[in-house]
Amino acid sequence: MKELRTRLIAAIVAGLALGGTALAQVEITYWHGFTGPDLPVMEELVAEFNATHPDIHVTAQAIAWGPLFQQLEPAVAAGQAPDVVALNEDVITGFILRGAVAEMTPDMLAAAGVEGERFFPSLWETGVVDGKVYGVPIHSVMLVMYYNKDLFEEAGLDPDDPPSNREEFLEAATALTVDANGNHPGDPGFDPSSLQRYAVGIPTPWMGGTIAYAVAAQNGVTFVGSADEGYAPTFDSEAAQEAVQFLVDIGSEHHFGPADATEGSEIDAFRQGVAAMNFNGVWMLSQYRDAGLDFGVAAFPQLGTERYATWGGSSHLVLPVQRNPDPAKVEAAMTFIGWMTQPEQNLKWTTAGGLPTQPEVASSPEYAENPMASLSDAMANTYVLTGFPFLAQFRGAWDAAFEAALHGTAVDQALSQGVSEAAAAIQEGLLSLP
């Protein structure tokens, strides 16, 4: 009995003490879309922040990216926006231009210990519009090449030296593609309808558009004009045509893979050891590991003609616009963003499958054990060609144009149709800006 009473008193005292600290605490809310295998890592990071910052308490809410983007603007309009939100590269500029995201002034960034120079420039630029900073990169992904080492050896290729440019790719792909009679593409009697093993298929629509985006970027294509040019789409240039034609030819001309590939059939074919190479995002790593393959991860090869580039994606922490901004909450939010994007936290985040956002992390000895570490060079030279406004308007039209080309529409015609579709959509996007 006595013991119970002591316990009760202790509990009440503890409760009061907690209540006391809670009063001094700044409560902030944080929305993010890391709902996959990366969720536990994000939750650990938030818990660690709360444990090390007694005066701030962050309540994190994981919402799938799609609904999160849908809910953000109504929440801002209703004055119910969270204090911190993670936004992806393909939507961030639109949210900035429509006035849903608040600027982070140089003073605020300095106070939170965020230095732009620390990050990969292309990632940092994604959160910058007109020289003003709106977001700090927290997460980065890219298009890479997975390749099956056993199939490389079978074809007499060096499994530690995968193709890195167009010439090497064409050579390797010829060796890797075999029909039912053991013939390679170009051999007399080669039958493309009975591929036994093949190099790689170029799928539709989104992943194919992503691959085409990377190769066109390697050809030096600018997809959409600058703000002064009214963001006029320009991806029907000769350089873009060359890139798209090359990718279309992989299936229909060279027969290095099926002409009717989908992203799903390519993933299956790679897992089953039928396709020797697979172009996909870094996020496929654990899936392929589970398939029990002996495979390597390499930078997406330079199939274009001008420079190295690959498709990259990213997430950024931003401050939504508040109807009545509370300076204490804004400061706490910036403290959280600053802490979350420090090298130490970024290193921990890479265990969830994302790439480093800063060179310091990429070159750290701790990161060297990560299977993606070999991509560090590519990362430093990656053009993350996302982040311009109306990306959705551009991207839908680009994917449709590439799909049409893969389905047999003449490449110049497919791209000029895509450009006029994108131009009309971007025009309307401009009209609806505040």
């Binding site: 639109g94 989908t262 299956d268």
Partner: protein, 326 residues
């Protein structure tokens, strides 16, 4: 006040005796408060106003303005977004009517399938065969799946080259794999097969219940008149099922027009937007391109078209119903 009212044994028979009298009265009660009926209607009326009338009214407002949720100004543009839907050459015109056509095609194919297959299954399972409940459960079970689960399942079945069906087609002699997901026209096969498998159970249950409710005497009378199995179905079963057929046709048509999840998961609207439904396009306009006014105009246009189709269907079927009873 005192004695009898506390004695339930006395009150109860009296109340019971008065009940049949009230029931048989043809005129409505007049002893209640005149507002009483409206009180009963109030809960639904409130929900209807808040969740139907207000959103529709707001959508009309949004569709007539260039609406941006975060801006102070929502300039009035009148019927601009409707005009675009009716002006050839605009992206809205091109894709709205293209996806509208896709959706109509899907509806025209799936609705009869979902009625005929459901009726067929219900008739088969109406006979007292062993394991009847088991089979009913088997056919009904898919309806509880979410559209994403069902979509992924059938996508895996029909996946180009590596799907189960293509693996089988590859193994069997005389058949070749078919690129279902990327061939114009064929991309509808997984969507339609999956949808029928997924939703046929609901209509089947409706038909099963209706079949059980047909009086056995009708069949006996028909047998005496010398009716065979077909004549019994044609002149007894089918007319008796008419109300259910009307209900199932209307609800299935509306559900089919709202096609979204199946192509979203299986084909992403491809190849070349040939399986994109109008709901997918409206969602894309609203939440990918943030063109809320345009999307609102499309939704209202779509809603109006759906009303016309449903009204037409009602008239046709009601006429049939009248004939069935005559």
């Amino acid at each position: 006040m005192s004695g009898p009212s506390t004695d339930t044994a006395v009150v109860a028979p009296a109340a019971a005796a008065s009940r049949p009298a009230r029931r048989s009265r043809l005129r409505p009660r007049v002893d209640g408060h005149p507002l009483e009926p409206y009180l009963y209607l109030l809960p639904h009326a409130v929900l209807f106003l808040v969740f139907v009338v207000y959103p529709v009214g707001f959508a009309i407002y949004v569709s007539l303005h260039r609406w941006n949720i975060l801006s102070d100004q929502q300039p009035f543009v009148g019927a601009e977004f409707y005009t675009r839907l009716l002006t050839p050459g605009t992206p809205q015109f091109t894709f709205f009517w293209k996806t509208m056509g896709n959706t109509a095609l899907f509806t025209v194919i799936t609705t009869p399938l979902l009625i005929v297959c459901a009726l067929g299954l219900a008739l088969l399972l109406h006979r007292p065969i062993p394991g009847r409940s088991f089979f009913r459960a088997v056919f009904f079970l898919p309806t509880i799946l979410s559209v994403s689960v069902m979509g992924l399942l059938w996508k895996w079945m029909f996946e180009n080259r590596t799907g189960l069906i293509n693996v089988l087609l590859d193994m069997l002699p005389f058949t070749e794999p078919v690129a279902f997901l990327t061939t114009i026209g064929l991309a509808w096969v997984p969507i339609i097969v999956g949808t029928v498998w997924w939703t046929v159970g609901f209509n089947m249950v409706l038909y099963s219940a209706a079949l059980a409710a047909i009086p056995q005497a009708y069949y006996e009378a028909a047998a005496i008149d010398g009716a065979g199995a077909w004549a019994k179905f044609r002149y007894v079963t089918w007319p008796q099922l008419n109300p259910v057929t009307l209900f199932a046709t209307v609800t299935t048509t509306i559900a089919s027009f709202q096609l979204f999840g199946q192509p979203h998961v299986m084909t992403a609207g491809g190849p070349l937007r040939t399986t994109q439904s109008v709901m997918m396009f409206i969602t894309e306009e609203a939440f990918t391109r943030f063109q809320f006014s345009s999307a609102a105009a499309m939704s209202l246009m779509f809603g109006a078209l759906l009303l016309v189709v449903t009204g037409f269907q009602f008239r046709l079927t009601l006429r049939d119903l009248g004939r069935g009873r005559a």
